[in-house]
Amino acid sequence: MSISVGMSVSGGALSIDEKSWIARAREGDTVAFEAIYNRYERRLYAFVYRLMGNSEDAYDLTQDTFVKAYSALPKTAPDLNLSAWLHRIASNACMDVLRRRKLIRWLPWETFDTNPAMEPTASDDPVGEYTQVETSGEVQAILDKLSPKNKMSLVLKEYQGMSCDEIGDVMGMSRSAVKSLLFRAREEFRQAYLAHYGHAPGAESDEPVNRNSPDREVGAI
């Protein structure tokens, strides 16, 4: 094939499409903002849901995020990384609430053994009729035991699928700081899991299908 295709790398995962949306939304084009909303609504809602552990907070804070984004968008720089920016707004909103609650409750999180959020009831069913049976209620419970920062880094990494660079953009940290934060988060998760369930994560095989744990790298050694 004689065609060489040079790709634009500068935008990272951003497509021109998204850039033009941002530009248009900045100019006040609500159709463009709606497009942005459509693209990020679920993603941000899921993110906030996992940080907060319940749908009420997820609802309110996702709403706050978009409202803030709407008014702040015209003031942003032209090379805005929209995904990181929106996640940052959302995570700041979550952090505020988490911190405030921590102050108000004045009891350490760890003492709350039963978190209502970890046992979804029929009325708080996040995915509607076809709920994936949440064998993972326990996972959310452990997440909720982590320090907010650790939890956030893990959720951004594993749930939102971000790279360390992107997480750095969201959390305002350097890449290497993110790397060590992730390490601490994993360790905290591991310890919390062990303390709570008496076995290491992944040690019991009562899991559904999707554990892709056999590791390529190790296997190849």
Binding site: I16, D17, D29, E34, S55, V133, K179, F183
Partner: protein, 583 residues
């Protein structure tokens, strides 16, 4: 190197963030340290656990509340002065026509600014009619608008009717009644052919005909924007209570829109977007088995609420496609292998082509022209194509030959700044590049293609089921194995080993699905009706998946590619990709 030093590296090693040197150190250590090996496995397990957490779906009201809050904020600001006044004077608000009309009653008190254009559909006076066809029977007789169809629908090509209990302005009723398909919280406005007929002095009926067919099992919402619809008596808006309706997939007798006109051709000619977009009378004929329909339904410009940006975008692209002058950058060797459709402004000395012609020129060129081509790629977006070298070969084929007979037919090596940060490759790439309607509809890839494991696959009388083990999702594909188009939808796989399933005895030589497929099939009548019995037991299939901005692409081991558009349709292609050496 001890474990304390290695642990932090393990974490980055797992994330692919370790330097080569760190990587080597980690791997060496792992060889002899069972504990760290175990820790790595646990880190991975944590990742899988978190990834396996369900994806919560925001309630439908969130969108509305967001816009309400934005509007409240915007209007509140106006009271105290708008901080953006200066910048907004120059704004170019591209609104759907309906919103830019001065008669947009809802916004008259708000003034300029974003809020003025907030989606009417989601705001104040909209009439959201909510009713389920199944639950419907007579429950909303008092409403000024109601659905006529009361039984579960049996034909997914059939029109539905909204009865107005007031006499309304025909044009308004046709223009401001939308049918939207709900996918989670996202609403897709369906292109429908709307036709209003007065049925007396005080009533009228609006027929809404799908351009292709309704998607089985989907939930639709008929949205009657009452604030926009003036009554026939005076210039007043209609008053009514809200209403929406569900399409239950009770019975399904579809023909998955076999639009012969849109057989994907591997040329660069812009194929008319197959279903559901520009309302053309021809499409009506294809989509409407029921006879009692006047053919010459006026093509109307459908105004859409802001809420459906996706559709607006696509529709614009589609509308632009057929008649626009298109030039093509064509690879000499393979005329099918077209990278970008360009509207070239070639400098120097070659004038832009005004129509697409194909010429075959055989020359021995001596020129080495340098050209700069500013290309408008459709779709997806604007790109700048700089074509450089042109040491020509003897024979080359160019489309969009300029009006000047070329002295040299340059071998154009296109260095394109393509609009996508990821370019589809191999079989997907071949289809994506050659079929503009696919590009328009799915947009850019959102991720590189990926082999899916584990998978399950089972062919049925009316389509097939496909299971992605990594996301535990089951996809229903409705459509014949050689049909060009079909419909798809999905379910989370909630089946657990040991779940009891009912069992139906299949006719001879046919099968009833089991396990996850069985659960979906037995629990969803729509799936049973759409697919019928299985033709074979389920099996593994090799599958490759790629997520796009507006859909997905699926390759299955029968060498078939399906582009699954986010509006619930898919287009099927044979995979004709032949890997080159080293691929």
């Amino acid at each position: 190197m001890n474990c304390t030093e290695i642990r932090p590296l393990l974490s980055s090693y797992m994330d692919g963030e370790a330097t080569p040197e760190e990587r080597t150190r980690v791997e060496r250590h792992l060889l002899r340290c069972q504990d760290c090996h175990q820790a790595l496995a646990e880190y991975r397990a944590i990742g899988s656990d978190i990834r396996a957490l369900a994806l919560p779906v925001p309630p439908a009201s969130l969108r509305r509340d967001v816009w309400k809050a934005i509007e409240a904020r915007e209007s509140g600001r106006r009271v105290f002065g708008n901080p953006h006044t200066g910048t907004r004077k120059t704004q170019t608000v591209s609104l759907p026509r309906a919103q830019s009309r001065s008669g947009a009653t809802i916004f008259t008190n708000i003034g300029n600014g974003w809020a003025k254009a907030l989606p009417a559909a989601l705001l104040v006076g909209g009439l959201l009619l909510v009713m389920s066809v199944l639950m419907l029977r007579g429950t909303i007789a008092t409403s000024a608008a109601q659905l006529v169809e009361r039984e579960p629908l049996s034909d997914y090509s059939q029109p539905i009717h909204v009865k107005f209990n007031e006499r309304v302005i025909r044009e308004d009723a046709e223009k401001y009644t939308y049918v939207r398909r709900m996918e989670g919280t996202t609403l897709f406005t369906e292109t429908v052919i709307a036709k209003y007929e007065s049925t007396g002095n005080t009533s009228g009926e609006l027929e809404l005909r799908p351009q292709t067919s309704w998607v089985p099992g989907a939930t639709y919402e008929v949205y009657v924007a009452c604030q926009r619809i003036r009554t026939g008596v005076a210039d007043e808006v209609m008053q009514s209570d809200p209403l929406t309706f569900n399409f239950s997939a009770a019975a399904y007798t579809p023909t998955p829109t076999n639009t012969s006109t849109s057989t994907p051709t591997p040329t660069n000619t812009l194929v008319p977007v197959p279903p559901s977009f520009t309302p053309e009378p021809t499409a009506i004929a294809q989509a409407s088995p029921p006879a009692a329909k006047t053919p010459g339904v006026p093509t109307r410009t459908q105004t859409k609420p802001v809420a459906v940006a996706t559709v607006i975008t696509t529709a614009t692209a589609a509308a632009a496609s057929p008649s626009a002058p298109i030039g093509s950058a064509t690879v000499p060797a393979k005329p099918t292998d077209i990278v970008v459709a360009v509207t070239p402004t070639i400098t120097p000395s070659i004038s832009a082509p005004t129509k697409t012609v194909t010429t075959v020129t055989t020359v021995t060129p001596t020129l080495t022209p340098a050209m700069t081509v500013t290309a408008t790629v459709r779709p997806p977006q604007t790109a700048t194509v700089v074509s450089t070298t042109s040491t020509a070969t003897a024979t080359s084929i160019r489309k969009g030959t300029p009006t000047v007979t070329p002295i040299a037919t340059p071998r154009v090596s296109v260095t394109a700044t393509l609009p996508c940060s990821i370019i589809p490759a191999r079989g997907f790439g071949q289809v994506w590049r050659s079929d503009s309607s696919v590009r328009e509809r799915v947009g850019c890839p959102a991720a590189p293609e990926d082999r899916v494991t584990p998978t399950a696959y089972q062919r049925f009388q009316g389509g097939f089921l496909f299971w992605r083990g990594d996301t535990r999702t089951i996809y229903v594909f409705r459509g014949g194995s050689t049909d060009t188009y079909g419909t798809w939808w999905q379910f989370p796989d909630t089946w657990q080993e040991g779940d009891p399933l009912p069992s139906k005895t299949p006719p001879a030589k046919l099968y009833a699905p089991i396990r996850g497929f069985g659960k979906i099939w037995y629990n969803n009548e729509s799936v049973q009706i759409a697919l019928g019995w299985a033709l074979e037991p389920e099996s593994n299939t090799g599958a490759v998946w790629q997520q796009y901005e507006r859909g997905n692409a699926l390759w299955t081991a029968d060498r078939t590619i399906r582009f699954m558009y986010s509006d619930g349709l898919y287009a099927r292609f044979d995979d004709t990709f032949v890997p080159g050496p080293g691929e």
